[in-house]
Symmetry: C2
Subunit: 232 residues, 2 copies
DNA sequence: TAAGTTAATGTCTTAATGACACAATAAATC
DNA sequence: GATTTATTGTGTCATTAAGACATTAACTTA
């Protein structure tokens, strides 16, 4: 009766944690992919992730961060759970479950480190079809992209793809890259005002025309969500 | 090298699937709770759920459905993933991960069956504080409730708490119960029109005054999301 | 028949975004 | 140095969907 809840009576499914880390680079939406060194799918490209180490990870969010840091050397600026994917056929080792995180980072923060390793690469989302991808990761990335597009319509999270100081023009470009459609500059400006989560930096920057005002995120503010989507 | 990916080299965390099943009953938002027969937390109330059975579950969604059916005898009308909760301290057996689903059902569909079993009960969300609850399930239910409230602002999912045929007045009441605030009948009607996912039933029903038009969900339509939240 | 109740409609107001003209400011060109 | 061009930022009207609330409709009960 004491071991009525003995866990060994259950075949526990294989549990992993993966992350879809997006950035905007060279005017395109990119996702971080890792060349798999071991089976299954050795040699193919997959999402950064792996098994939980119950001795050092306090929770599965730490697993995601730890695995991302191995590849990028820094923590992403934004991290949230996307979804869990499971099934008996998605991994040749048997029934598997993967919890997928969804993350954003400014390209400038990681470019140097990524460039030094050859098993991690930014993949243009439009060129994903050409890449040999492991598991169901191509499908997962598509779903993550949809989530990102949806969130970009009502939330300020795209700012996490920008450097510390940024202009309205850069913000606009990031949003347009994510959505794949042009948006009104005026709409961005209005939301920057309304969100009250940014402050002007006492500095302007060249941009080919009139000098552009720099902004930065106020310390310790939460991301603001709006009641209404951009309709584009 | 063949067993380089032998899964036994990892201490796999304990993985379970739980569900927060909501309904609206007697003008209040209720959640289905189950009295735990076994340790840990035997005797306390917890969310319906359990371990994956890799032999009969094709994926973890099936696990959630299977466990819910054990308690309600039917499948919920709406089911989506809420989030995964994990940590080394949330279960005395060790590092644990639970994937929590979020589900809705019409009370009429399950009332008779629930009444016959004594280990499952609808708990009024306002009386949750008084109940001895297992694990971090109280916290999880609060998060699920927030998700439901948020979705009720821009989506038609509250309809899944209604019987097959329903009136605008019933729909309004369900939404108001979820949100805890009054909404404009006119707004509901406008959205019912705009969503184009309902059709009028050729029948009206008494309601104390003028007869109320009955509606039902059109076959094979998806839930409609609106671009804008109700602001209430 | 009148009063009360709930349903449905009509319509004015409000709020946030779209669209776009226009002004400001800097670089490049003549 | 004036002119053109590019980009930033502002002003303003149009559009859209929701809020507020009065009005009408249809049924019940006293």
């Amino acid at each position: 009766m004491a071991n009525h809840y003995d866990i060994t009576e259950y075949k526990n499914p294989l549990f992993t944690v993966d992350s879809v880390l997006f950035t905007v680079k060279e005017g395109a939406l990119k996702v971080l992919m890792v060349k798999r060194a071991s089976e299954p799918f050795a040699g193919r490209w997959g999402l950064p992730g792996g098994f939980v180490n119950v001795d050092i990870d306090d929770n599965v969010g730490m697993t995601a961060l730890r695995k991302l840091k191995e590849k990028t050397s820094v923590a992403p600026q934004y991290l949230e759970q996307l979804q869990t994917y499971s099934g008996v056929n998605r991994d040749p080792r048997g029934f598997s479950v993967t919890l997928v995180y969804f993350a954003l980072i400014a390209e400038a923060q990681v470019s140097t480190h990524i460039a030094t390793v050859d098993d991690a690469k930014w993949i243009d989302l439009n060129k994903l079809t050409e890449l040999p991808v492991a598991f169901d990761h191509k499908f997962i990335i598509e779903q993550a992209k949809e989530r990102l597009k949806q969130k970009a319509l009502y939330s300020m999270i795209p700012v996490y793809c920008l450097p510390e100081h940024f202009t309205v023009g850069q913000f606009k470009l990031v949003i347009e890259t994510i959505l794949g459609k042009p948006v009104q500059r005026k709409s961005i400006i209005r939301r920057i005002e309304a969100a009250d989560m940014f402050e002007k930096v006492d500095e302007k920057v060249k941009s080919g025309g009139r000098l552009a005002q720099l902004y930065k995120v106020k310390p310790d503010v939460d991301i603001v969500n709006f009641e209404r989507n951009l309709s584009v």
